[in-house]
Symmetry: C2
Subunit: 448 residues, 2 copies
C-alpha cells in the first residue's frame, strides 16, 4: 500500500540534448549525426518524491515530445498516486484512448503518453522503496494482467494465458531473483558505429572485452563491400567465440535486403537487426522464410510503434529476437504486454539500449523478464551503451559482461543537476554558444 | 514552368477548432465527442500566392501538430518554389528521412511533414493556375514516379511498373477528363453517426437522397443488438437499391470482430470499415479469409500511418477498399504511391472524408485516380461530409450524388477569414467564452 495522501502537485518537462554528433557516436545509415537527447519529465508531489521518466530522441524533435508531455500532464496533476496504483490501466486508457488525442496515432503521441505512465510507475516504485524491476517482480500475476490493454492483442495472447504463464514461474521466482542479484542480465554492446574508424572500433572492442563482453554489434547498410569487409574485420577482432550481430537500421528495401543478405551467409552472424522498415511485418515474414536455412535470424522492435506491430512480428514467427524499447510504446503497461507475448512465442527479449539513460531503464525490464516472465537468462541479451553514464546519479554498472542488478529506487533516472543545466536546449551552456546551423531541425546532413 | 523568382518568405500556422461535439456530429465508438479541427498552414511568398494545407484532427492535439509544422517550416522558408517543382521527392526526403526527426516515427511527425508538402503542392498548382487534380493529371508518368520514395514499397510496385501503369492510361486520359468534368467522383455519405437519434438519421438520409445519394454508411461497434437493429433500420430507410456500409472505427478485438461479423452476413452490406486496429495487417488478412464467402469486404486506411502499412494491406489482399486519407501520410507524394499500389492490386480507392475541408482535398485525389490511375469510376466511391462547408471560399459541390470537379486553383483550401478568426483556439470568439472543462486535452469523456 502506498501512502494515500501522495498527490501530483506539478510537472516539469526538460528538453535535454547532448551534442554527440561531434564524435559521430550512435551514427547509422539513417541517423547520420544523432545528438543523443531526452525529453525529461519530473512529476513533483506533496511527499518529496519525484516521479521521473525520459523519452529518448536523437536531437531535433525533442521539443515536439516535450510539447506533448506538457499537454498530457494536465491529466495527472492533482491526482493521487493511489488512484494510479489501484488501476494503472485506467490512466493508460485515459491517455491512449483519449477520445480526441488518439487521432494523433503512435509516434509522438504514444511516446508522450509513455512518459506520463513511466513517471507514475517511477513514483510508485519510489513510494514502495523498490527498484522498478523489484516492484514488477512482486506484482501478482492477476495484477500484471490487469495493467494491460488486451483489445488489440488477445488473438495472440489472452489475459488468462498471461496469468497462467506468470503463475507457472512463481515457484522459481525467489531463486531466480537471488541469481539475478548475483549476476544481472547478460549485456552486449555496439562497437561498430558507422562513423567510426577501424582503429576506434578496435579500441572499443578491446576495452569491452576487458570488461567481460563477448557479444558485439556493428552497423551496416550503405555499401555491401564495405559492410562485408567490416564484418570480417569485426569477426577477426572479437574472435571466433564471440557473438556478432549486425544492424541495418531499416536502410534496405525488401529486395535490397534479400540481395545483401545473400552474401551474409557463413559469416557466423547471430542476428540481422532492422534489415527493412520497422513495421513491414509481411516483409519480415518473407525474409524469415527466405533465410530460414541461414545461421542468422531477424531482430527488430526499437522502432516498432505499438503492441499491435509486436503482436504480428511475434505471432507470425517473423522475428526471432524481440527488441523492446523502453520509451517508444506507452510505458510499462505496453512493455509488459510485449514481453509476455514474446515469452509465449519463445522469442528472446533483447531490449534496445542507447542514448541518454535508456540502458538505465531497460535493465529493469531485463530483470523482470528473466526473473518472472521468461524466467531464464540463457537466450536473453540486453543492449549496453557505454557512454553518457556520467549524466546520472546512478549509472548502470556492468561486471563480467553482465549488468549488475540496479539497486536505486524507481528507474534510477535522477540526472545530475549540473548535467541537466548545461545540456538544456537551447539555452544551456553547451548549446548557447553553438552556431545556429548546429541547432534543431535546420541541422541537416547530406542524405547521400 | 513556374516563375523561378517565387520564394517562400514566411509561414503562418493556425490552430483551428470547431466545437462540433455540441451536436455529436462525427461521433463514433472511440471518438465520442470530436471537435472537428485543423492545423492550418499558410506559406506566404513574394509573389502574392499563398500555399495552404491543413492537417485534420478531432480537437485536442491540434496544437501538437501546429508545433511540429512550425518547426518544419524552417526547412522551406527562404527556398524557391522552383526547387520544389524540379524534384518534389527531394523535399520529401529532407523531411521524412531527416537524420534526427525520423526518430519521431509516423503520427504527428508524418502528418506535419505532409502539411509542408501539401502546401508546396498547393503553391505549385496555383503558380500554374490549375486545380490540384489537373496539375497531377498533366504530370508525365516518369515525373510522377520520381515524386515517390520507393525504398519501402518496391516489392509491391516497382517504379517501372508504376510508369507502365500510368502510361497505359494515357490514350484515354483526355476522354476521361472530359467525362469527369461533366460528372465528378461518385460520393457516399455517413448518415448514421453513433450519437444521433433514429429521427436525425432519417432526416439526413432523406435530405441526401434528394441530392441524389445512393450510398450510405453508419457507425457500429459498441453493442451487437443495437448495431443490428440500426443496420436494419438504415436498410429500410435507404431502400434495397442503395449501397450500405458500416464502420467500427477499430473498436473490436480480432476475436470480437469475428463474433460480431458472423451476425452481419445477409444484411446486404458492401464493406466493413476498420473492424480492428488500423495497422493489424495479419488481423485483416485473417478476417478476409474467414469471411471470404460473405457479401461484404473489408475497408481501411483512414488511420493507416504510412505507405508501408498500405503496401501490406494491398499486396496481401487483406482489404478490398483502399481508404486513403489526404493528411495522415506525407502529402501528395505518399498518396500518389498508395493510389498507384491500389491500382496495381485492383483495389478501389475510396478516400476518407470528413472534418474541416478534408473533402475539399480528397476530391482532387478522386479526380486524379479516376482519370489517370484507375482510369475508371465504376468501383470508386469518395466519402462526402455535408457540414462545415460554410468555412471555405470554395465549398465542395455535389450534383446527383457525385462531386462536381473542383475548379478553384490549388486545393481550394481558402478559409473565410471571419471563420478562421472566430474558431482560432483558444482565443477565438467561439472558444474564449467556453468553460475550461471543454477545452483541450483535459476535456475527457467516460470511456464506457
Amino acid at each position: 500500500m502506498v501512502d494515500s495522501s501522495i498527490k501530483i502537485t506539478s510537472a516539469k518537462v526538460i528538453d535535454l540534448r547532448v551534442p554527440t554528433s561531434d564524435q559521430l557516436l550512435g551514427s547509422d545509415p539513417f541517423h547520420k549525426e544523432p545528438d543523443y537527447s531526452s525529453a525529461v519529465l519530473q512529476l513533483e508531489t506533496n511527499s518529496g518524491l519525484t516521479g521521473i521518466s525520459i523519452v529518448f530522441t536523437v536531437g531535433a524533435g525533442t521539443d515536439w515530445i516535450c510539447h506533448g508531455v506538457e499537454d498530457l500532464c494536465q491529466l495527472v496533476i492533482g491526482s493521487r498516486l493511489q488512484d494510479f496504483v489501484s488501476s494503472p490501466v485506467r490512466l493508460y486508457r485515459r491517455l491512449i484512448d483519449h477520445h480526441q488525442l488518439r487521432w494523433l496515432h503512435d509516434g509522438v503521441f504514444r511516446m508522450a503518453a509513455g512518459a506520463i505512465l513511466n513517471a507514475m510507475w517511477d513514483l510508485w516504485a519510489k513510494a514502495e522503496g523498490k527498484p522498478l524491476w523489484k516492484l514488477l517482480v512482486d506484482l501478482e500475476p492477476e495484477f500484471v494482467a490487469d495493467c494491460i490493454d488486451w483489445r488489440n492483442i488477445s488473438d495472440a495472447l489472452t489475459k488468462s494465458e498471461a496469468i497462467d504463464l506468470l503463475r507457472s514461474r512463481r515457484s522459481e521466482i525467489h531463486n531466480r531473483e537471488k541469481q539475478m542479484l548475483l549476476r544481472g542480465p547478460k549485456a552486449y554492446c555496439t562497437a561498430g558505429w558507422l562513423g567510426l574508424s577501424d582503429q576506434q572500433i578496435l579500441e572499443t572492442i578491446q576495452r569491452l572485452q576487458i570488461q567481460g563482453f563477448d557479444s558485439f554489434k556493428l552497423k551496416v547498410g550503405r555499401d555491401l563491400q564495405h559492410d562485408l569487409k567490416r564484418i570480417r574485420f569485426m569477426r577477426e577482432a572479437v574472435g571466433d567465440q564471440c557473438q556478432l550481430m549486425v544492424d541495418a537500421n531499416q536502410y534496405w528495401s525488401l529486395t535490397e535486403a534479400k540481395e545483401h543478405l545473400s552474401h551474409y551467409r557463413g559469416l557466423g552472424l547471430k542476428w540481422i537487426e532492422e534489415p527493412i522498415a520497422r513495421d513491414d511485418v509481411l516483409g519480415y515474414l518473407e525474409l524469415s522464410e527466405q533465410f530460414s536455412g541461414a545461421e542468422f535470424d531477424f531482430a527488430c522492435g526499437e522502432q516498432a510503434a505499438s503492441p499491435v506491430i509486436f503482436k504480428q512480428l511475434l505471432k507470425s514467427g517473423a522475428i526471432k529476437y524481440c527488441q523492446i524499447d523502453a520509451v517508444r510504446v506507452a510505458g510499462v503497461n505496453d512493455v509488459m504486454a510485449i514481453i509476455l507475448m514474446a515469452a509465449k512465442y519463445g522469442v528472446p527479449v533483447c531490449p534496445h539500449g542507447g542514448g541518454i539513460a535508456l540502458c538505465n531503464m531497460i535493465q529493469h525490464y531485463g530483470m523482470w523478464d528473466q526473473i518472472a516472465v521468461a524466467g531464464q537468462s540463457e537466450t536473453q541479451l540486453v543492449e549496453y551503451i557505454d557512454f553518457l553514464q556520467d549524466s546520472v546519479e546512478h549509472p548502470v554498472e556492468v561486471l563480467d559482461g553482465h549488468y549488475r542488478a540496479p539497486s536505486a529506487v524507481g528507474w534510477g533516472l535522477e540526472f545530475k543537476s549540473d548535467f541537466l543545466d548545461r545540456h538544456k536546449f537551447p539555452d544551456g551552456e553547451v548549446w548557447k554558444s553553438r552556431s545556429p546551423s548546429r541547432k534543431g531541425t535546420a541541422f541537416e546532413v547530406d542524405l547521400g
